[in-house]
């Protein structure tokens, strides 16, 4: 691994149990912080130095992850990695959409490219699709969504206040976890969802939208969004939302960046304003937007602008938190969803880096839980077992993908060889679950 910053540390945390990791960084303090917490080898060196990479043992690596915050370092490290270890998988992190496009066109000789801005934009766009959600992840080409909801006081009585076995859930969906006061439990038939709790639901995209409607009645599909900040992150979000025909207004304080954004997005309305002047917010009826996205470079500005926007009437706020510590503060301040670009980047890297059979993973609840996407082997002892007979080991199967289409299994369904299984599990249990399937 090249880079032991925030992304690197998060990746290490997810991978250190079942991988032998060597972490390379120029900064000794970052290396020692990683080494104290996880059982990994560290090497102080420069990712752009071929000798340093060779000394760190890149030649014998199976997987090379270049996830520093600098594109150039990642590109050079990826290039040397390919030269020194031709059979190793290479993942590089970038912040330029251009490199992602190049990679897709086959012009960039690496196995996977992750763009923080793009991942952030996708995360936010999924959240917008399900407005009551705190966090969403998609699996199996969008057929399966995992959504984390806050249960509000006004939520429908169909699903709250009654034991789960009596509740009327939307079709093709399943409650995977209930979180009360920071404590996560895998639900049983007699558990009750109460307002104030947080739940994790797996289901089809339609079911996720129905859940959203049940838990936040009156919420309509989002068609009108205001984005504060038209830098890299804000522009990536605007692009993704405009592609879905969602109306976008962009507010950018820098005249030059506002001009660039206005030229790039003919369909968006771009304002050259800070977004903090009450006159401006009032005159442009910013408060009438269905959602506000705060993607400025400074977390404190995002927090303040989001609070101000709430005051002006924006009902749903999503803020980018560049620092991990900001997440809690945003949550405390009443921002509906906070997204840390580094976390989503790390998630994406881990998805690719995990077991070859594991297609994707998501991390929930500050990485204590993972969602795995595992393809069952013939030798698995659970082949042919009905779902109601499966043992409970701190893990729950939410959906299976069989012959390309998603099934949300009931008690009588049977696990078959070659099924892709989407499992919710405690992070510490993940290796065991993968082994058992």
């Amino acid at each position: 691994m090249i880079g032991a910053g925030q992304v690197g540390t998060t990746v290490v945390e997810a991978l250190h149990v079942d991988h032998e990791l060597t972490v390379l960084d120029t900064e000794p303090s970052r290396l020692s912080a990683v080494a104290y917490r996880y059982d990994v080898a560290t090497f102080q060196g420069d990712g752009t130095s071929r000798r340093d990479l060779a000394d760190a043992g890149i030649g014998s690596a199976d997987l090379i992850i270049a996830c520093t915050s600098r594109d150039e370092v990642n590109l050079v490290a990826g290039m040397f990695g390919r030269r020194e270890a031709p059979r190793a998988k290479t993942i590089i992190r970038t912040s330029e959409m251009e490199y992602v496009d190049l990679w897709r066109e086959g012009q960039l000789d690496v196995d996977f490219v992750v763009c923080s801005e793009l991942e952030t934009a996708h995360t936010i766009s999924r959240t917008i699709g399900v407005p009551a959600a705190r966090q969403t992840d998609v699996f199996a080409e969008g057929q399966v969504q995992i959504v984390e909801f806050d249960v509000e006081v006004g939520a429908s009585r169909d699903v709250t206040g009654v034991p789960l076995r009596d509740a009327e859930f939307p079709r093709d969906s399943k409650v995977m976890a209930i979180i009360r006061r920071g404590e996560t439990t895998l639900p049983r038939g007699d558990d009750v969802i109460e307002p104030g709790a947080r739940i994790v639901v797996i289901g089809s995209p339609q079911a996720a939208q129905q859940w959203s409607a049940l838990l936040a009645p009156g919420g309509a599909a989002v068609r009108d969004v205001v984005i504060f900040g038209a830098g890299r992150v804000g522009s990536a979000i605007a692009r993704v939302l405009l592609d879905q025909d969602i109306g976008v207004r962009l507010i950018e304080a820098s005249r030059e960046r506002a001009r660039v954004a206005a030229e790039a997005f003919p369909k968006a309305r771009v304002f050259n304003a800070t977004g903090f002047e009450p006159d401006f917010l009032e005159r442009e009826r910013i408060g009438q937007a269905q959602a506000g996205i705060f993607a400025m470079r400074d977390d404190t500005k995002n927090l303040y602008a989001a609070s101000l926007a709430k005051v002006h009437g924006i009902p749903f706020t999503i803020a980018v938190a560049h620092e991990a510590v900001s997440l809690a503060a945003f949550d405390q301040a009443g921002i509906d969803v906070a997204v840390n670009p580094r976390t989503v980047t790390a998630e994406e890297i881990v998805r690719f880096a995990h077991d070859p059979r594991t297609q994707q993973v998501a991390m929930l609840e500050e990485n204590r839980y993972e969602v795995l996407d595992v393809t069952t082997r013939e030798s698995s002892r659970y082949i042919g077992t009905k779902f109601r007979d499966m043992p409970v080991h701190g893990a729950l199967i939410g959906a299976i993908v069989r012959n390309g289409s998603a099934i949300f299994p009931h008690g009588d369904d049977v696990l078959q060889t070659g099924d892709r299984v989407i499992v919710f599990t405690e992070a510490s249990n993940a290796p065991w679950v993968i082994e058992a399937l």
Binding site: A258, R259, A261, A262, E263, P266, R269, V270, F271, N272, A273, F280, R283, E284
Partner: protein, 516 residues
């Protein structure tokens, strides 16, 4: 050529203060070179004169004088080491057009014709020719020899795509630096580059221009051969193809296009409409076979819409006033609308006799003009388009001052400088038109011809837009012969300024242009 000529460096010392910022010698050198070749244009009327057994001397003398003076000027300034840069471009273009008109006027004077013998009238006719205006002082068309009439038509064809553009396209390498010259002469706010090099762009434009002219001559003479139009002889076909494609408007006939059959009029309508479109766009659509480029071009779409609306309005007026009916009404309405909007200036009916509403419609069309990169004059469709977008943005920004809205043309953002230039152009255009009208109106008070205020406004508009006919006595079947000399001079100036799109000429009037 001496390949091993040495470069002699001047001794390193501080010379006297130089106040003039323009390299006059280099500019004169280029003007001389252009004049030297321009004289060759006399070969065509000489050939016509030989064919019809008329005198070749007026043309031979004009050609020899022009080429000789050009050669002398070039020789006299041959020592110059300067290059014609962006700055000299304005001077070269402006002066070349004045001198080209002088060349064009010589055969009229030398032929001793009664109606064109006066130098001012001859210069007026030549300027109207080269600038593709089509305003004429000729009253008796039967009196003109065939070679002289063809010379009149030919000057329009030479001026249509631009003399300097032609020189760039066909002449051996001129000492010209860059695109400034081309841009000063080609109509429209910016040129559409067909290829990287100026020279090949100029060549492609001229090939297309010549090709379309040949096609029209062929189409018209075919109508003559088929007996659909008895008066359309090959001579007339070539003569009118020479003045359709440059949106000129000169005719060999006193009754303009009314003299020809309906079929010929429709063919001419089609080619006038083509001549008013962007040639670079036409090249892309027809020569490179990408017709979808037409649909994508915002200016071309608006151009067609305006032509259709103007045509429909005139047809409705002509029919409801009982001037014409049926096919006749359609033809005269559409013909006049296309002719005036593209700034050609042909007439298939004497619209000077039409009611005021029709005149006002035609008057408004003079301010539309052709497309950028066409041979048409006037304000041009693309400037109206951009100005409309700027206006809409200003209104939006009145409500929301913070909103950032780049102006787009064909989906690409337009530079703010270009937008400013467009606004300045329209302002200058309107100012010059109003000033010209004022001079003509005041001057008419001292003359014999009755020029009403509307006529004065129309004469100024028709001259600066390079249309040709206006209303009243100076209508399509009339002539400008009776105007006072001051009015004729004003029109010459307006035609010249209008053809060069104002800025290259006006820049010469600023002190900053000449001084360091």
């Amino acid at each position: 050529m001496n390949a091993t000529s040495e470069v002699v460096l001047p001794p390193p010392r501080i010379g006297p203060r130089r106040r003039i910022a323009i390299d006059v010698a280099a500019s004169l050198n280029l003007i001389g070179a252009l004049g030297k070749y321009l004289g060759l244009a006399a070969l065509l009327p000489i050939a016509v004169a030989v064919w019809y057994g008329e005198s070749i001397w007026p043309f031979a003398a004009a050609g020899l004088i022009t080429s000789g003076l050009g050669l002398a000027l070039e020789r006299a300034t041959a020592h110059t080491s300067g290059r014609v840069g962006a700055r000299e471009g304005f001077l070269v273009v402006s002066a070349t057009w004045l001198l080209a008109a002088a060349f064009g006027a010589m055969p009229y004077v030398f032929s001793g014709s009664d109606q064109l013998g006066h130098p001012l009238d001859a210069y007026f006719e030549a300027m109207s020719g080269f600038t593709t205006t089509g305003a004429s002082v000729v009253t008796d068309f039967e009196d003109l020899s065939r070679s002289l009439a063809m010379w009149r038509q030919f000057t329009q064809w030479l001026g249509g795509m631009g003399i300097i553009v032609l020189a760039l396209a066909v002449l051996p390498r001129l000492r010209v630096g860059g695109r400034q010259l081309l841009e000063s002469e080609l109509p429209g706010p910016e040129i559409d580059q067909l290829s990287e090099r100026i020279r090949s762009t100029a060549r492609r434009l001229w090939v297309l221009y010549a090709g379309l002219t040949a096609l029209e001559a062929l189409a018209l003479s075919t109508l003559g051969w088929l007996g659909l139009d008895e008066r359309m002889t090959p001579y007339q076909a070539v003569a009118h193809a020479f003045t359709t494609m440059p949106t000129g408007g000169f005719s060999t006939q006193a009754r303009s296009i009314e003299a020809f059959a309906a079929a010929s009029q429709w063919v001419i309508v089609l080619f006038m409409a083509l001549a008013g479109a962007n040639f670079a766009l036409l090249y892309r659509a027809f020569v490179r076979r990408r017709p979808e480029a037409l649909a994508r071009d915002e200016e071309f779409r608006l151009y067609l819409v305006l032509l259709a609306v103007a045509g429909a309005a005139l047809v409705a007026q002509v029919w409801s006033y009982g001037i014409a009916e049926g096919e006749d009404a359609f033809r005269s309405g559409i013909f006049q609308a296309v002719s005036i909007m593209t700034t050609t200036g042909y007439a298939s009916a004497d619209f000077a006799l039409w009611p005021v509403l029709c005149l006002l419609t035609l008057f408004a069309l003079m301010f539309v003009g052709g497309s950028a990169g066409s041979t048409g004059g006037g304000i041009k469709v693309v400037r109206h388009l951009l100005l409309g977008k700027v206006l809409r943005r200003e209104l939006d920004q009145t409500v929301s001052p913070e909103v950032v809205m780049p102006i787009r043309l064909h989906g690409t953002p337009v530079d703010e400088r270009t937008l400013r230039a467009v606004a300045v152009f329209v302002l200058l255009y309107v100012g010059i038109w109003a000033g010209g009208a004022a001079v003509i109106a005041i001057d008419s008070a001292f003359g014999d011809v009755v020029v009403s205020p509307l006529d004065a406004l129309a004469i100024s508009a028709t001259a600066v837009a390079n249309v040709g006919p206006s209303f009243g006595a100076t209508g399509p079947m009339g002539s400008y012969a009776e105007l006072n000399e001051a009015s004729k001079l004003t029109m010459i100036g307006l035609m010249w300024i209008g053809r060069l799109e104002i800025v290259p000429v006006i820049v010469l009037l600023t002190r900053h242009y000449w001084r360091t």
